[in-house]
Symmetry: C2
Subunit: 248 residues, 2 copies
């Protein structure tokens, strides 16, 4: 048996989990995958995620890696994991990679999507995957505000408290509303070299304030440059947020 | 106060309900709406659905009506119901209609959609809204089989046992796979003047057999004309089925 390093790509429905990171009590994605792996490999193995996702946040392409001594190949590992994991977590890809590969340290950028459903009445089907906003949103104003985010900025104004980080400057590569096939849905997509805690949800909460006319594009820019959390809008709920992709 | 008749259009996520029809013990859509209405109007009122949906089946446009003495207008009724109902049931429209209107007797046709997710690995996001088929499906064969359904036929071969009906001839107005924006999803849409119990799910189960090569288009036609339930495929699971529209 040789030591192998596997890179896994995961889709998960965060509704029933207390986020990615293993905790002593609550159900988490990392813990579910580590428990399944322990049954497959025969002992505890640490799964290294590209980063945490918070309680209730979903993923369409979270990435992790783990090293282990096994004769199983990537297809067998994927199949075994999917047969043991709950329906709300799916391993969509499994690849054996170079022993050096590290899902967190090697991540170059991450892309998130935030789904808004903008209609006077809520949705029943898919309500767990979008934030419902009753008031009509000014999409042009929101798009103009989103554009201000692109580039390198200190994102302290959009940072959750108690964040574990050395500095709060992040480089935003993309921040735009993408055209969606579904009527009444608005999808915000943002890519950066990294994100502060609650950063996407705080940005979305403030963009929705722009869309509702509670604030405007000029004030949005002022909030961004203020580096003062008290200036920004409320934190958008977790159930509209998806970790879409991690690039290496 | 005058006696009014209200027509309501509903979207619901059937996952957590034992179908439409009121039962003594289990949670049902009809019972939830009647409980909410009783709180609004002050006494028990019967809600007449266009028909039942089975346990676990969803609706994007189920229709019902109810008569009551109230000063409330349609907008107030809709708002009050939505504020009392669980998130998984939404009144998307409420209109005051002629006293004669009866949601079941006046229904001219109903349209259902059945969602299939056809991919080697399952979905985590939205898994509760589509039947996952691992094996690649022959879409052309399925479309050709679906075409055979159009017109007037005796659907005994696709009927669930213990169905409350006087005869089993139904007129199919539409039966086709519609193009969907989402990759790997296949949506079957069927419209008829009425449906037998489990009819759509038994048809879909048999169409999937055609798609997998377990049977073929010629045999599908033989099954349809056989009027023998034992010839048809298994009943497709309820969570892929949506009552899309009721036409009057």
């Amino acid at each position: 048996m040789t030591s192998k390093n596997f890179k896994i790509t995961m889709e998960y429905d965060g509704s029933k989990f207390h986020g990615w990171q293993r905790q002593t009590r609550d159900r988490t994605i990392q813990a579910e995958i580590e428990m399944a792996l322990a049954r497959i490999i025969g002992h505890q193995i640490t799964v290294i995620g590209s980063g945490r996702t918070d309680s209730g946040v979903h993923a369409l392409g979270q990435v992790a890696n783990f090293r282990c001594d096994t004769r199983l190949d990537e297809a067998a590992i994927q199949q075994a994991l999917n047969s043991l994991l709950p329906d709300s977590i799916v391993i969509i890809k499994c690849r054996q990679v170079n022993t050096d590969f590290h899902a967190r340290y090697n991540a170059k950028s991450k892309t998130y999507q935030y789904w808004l459903f903008n209609h006077p009445t809520p949705k029943a089907i898919g309500r767990q995957y979008a934030w419902h906003i009753r008031a009509p949103l000014d999409e042009d104003a929101m798009a103009a505000a989103a554009e201000q985010l692109i580039g390198r900025h200190d994102f302290s104004a959009f940072e959750g408290s108690g964040s574990p980080r050395s500095h709060s400057v992040r480089h935003i590569l993309k921040a735009e509303f993408i055209k969606e096939y579904k009527p009444d849905y608005l999808i915000f997509e943002i890519e950066a070299d990294g994100f502060l805690r609650f950063m996407v949800r705080n940005i979305v909460g403030t963009l929705v304030d722009v869309g509702c006319g509670k604030t405007n594009v000029e004030k949005f820019t002022t909030i961004l440059t203020s580096r003062d959390r008290r200036q920004a809008g409320a934190t958008a709920p977790p159930h509209g947020l998806f970790l879409l992709k991690v690039s290496y």
